[in-house]
Amino acid sequence: METSRPVIVMRVPERVNLKQARSFLREVKPLLVADRPQVVFDLSQVKQLDVTGVDMLLHCMAEAAKRDGDVKLAALSPQSAVVLELTRTDRLFEIYETSTDAVRSFSSFMPNVLKQFYPHVHQGADAIAFPSQPAANPAALEDEEAA
């Protein structure tokens, strides 16, 4: 499945403190207000990431999600990887080894997280065999509890 919408790769600056995060956010803003924005942040240059930087990444993700888009992270430097893990934000993003992988992921059907659970699908099978039991359906659960 191919996509015609552009995927934009942005390189995050070396130091992401309050001042840098604000100026970076100003740069990214026009990209995030587009319809279904597809943005990849390359964090390979990041040497210092603080709470403001993490907040900025989350804000970008929230804004992209509002417009049915997505923000993915790629090429995490050790510093950024450690801070994202420390603040428990690594589990909120799709993270790729390289920017190329992240860009490619936008044109693939399944997000990276699902590929590890359905490797046979990723290997080229056309028919997708999802589990018969739905993951969660609040209405069904309520019915079961009532019964």
Binding site: M1, E2, T3, S4, L25, K29, L32, V33, R36, Q48, D50, V51, D55, L58, H59, A62, E63, K66, D68, D70, P78, Q79, A81, V82, V83, E85, L86, T87, R88, F106, S107, S108, F109, P111, A136, N137, P138, A139
Partner: protein, 386 residues
Amino acid sequence: MDVRALILIGGRSETPGYERMGGVPFALLDVLGEPVIGRVLKHLERVGVISASVVSEVDPATAPLARGSLRPDLKWTHDEGPQFWRAAEVAFSDLAQTGAELILVVRIGPYAELDYEELIQCHLDRHNRVSSACDSDGNPLDAYVITASRRNDAAFLFRHELREFRDDPIQCKLHGYVNRLENAADFRRLALDAFGGKASFKPIGTEIKPGVWTGEGAHIHKSARVLAPAFLGAHSRVRAMSVLTRGTVVEHHSLIDCGTVIENSSILPQTSIGAALDVAHSVVGLRRIANLRRKVEVEIVDEKLISTVSSAPIRALSSALGLVMYLPRVFARGLISKDSDAQPATLPEAINAHSAALKSTKLEDGAPAQREFSPNLIAARRYGNE
């Protein structure tokens, strides 16, 4: 026989982080309530070696050592680079001149629980000038016995950074627990080995429940969970809803803030860990975090994440100043500010509300989000050109 010890801390700088964290050698960092060097000195005392000199590459004042953990009568010298080995040579001469017959040279470096009596006996039996301790595989343990009158042999050894000998040394194979302490992973393993009984030393504190030790004045909030084995050093604090699990060590005067999870990690002395963080497989302290899985050591500059707890007088002054500033500010805010935002009353309202952190950075025009999906749909994602 007068046997004295010369303890060398450092002396190897193959790579920047070798045998140290944040510039402080592991020998000067606390493990379960006492610094490694303190444990080595206690081990030497047990075999009758009481008098000791210490030569260190780092000033011990720079390390957050446990109070009173080291003997005040220890003679400390600190010198960097090539001067370190020169200082070791001078310290050896001083010990020899003050009447020592045998000098036990121990470099930390590795932490080894060796039978030093056996090493000394091996040296005496073979009438050698220098005897070297090695493990069962023949690897050197950086522990030597040198006859005090053989200063040239000692000088040769120090000038070659304990790597070459003037004559062929006798190698005595010793058995006992050895940890090379080359990196943060080894440092962490030392604590786990002590919990597991592989290393002979015990945590400094009281065992409040099986496998959980606390030092004097340690405080654990009633809603915090501490799972054994764990150690909380003197005057450490664990705040509400925190979880400490899988052999976590929190050294003295450290603070774990609300909701933080510490898993399989060591928190160095006087380290404050911020709220709602997830510290796993790490050694944290000196404003750094060494992640053992990623094998990286990273400096953390943001004090909301990791900071250093200041000394008691500065803390008291800071608290008093904070209180003095806080009360008028709250009073003034109460008089002039508008009503604060109303808290959402129901769960759907709370979910749809903007988070506090993002409220100032709105990109929206102000139009409320329309509910266009069925209430049963939890999440929706689109990919490609549907």
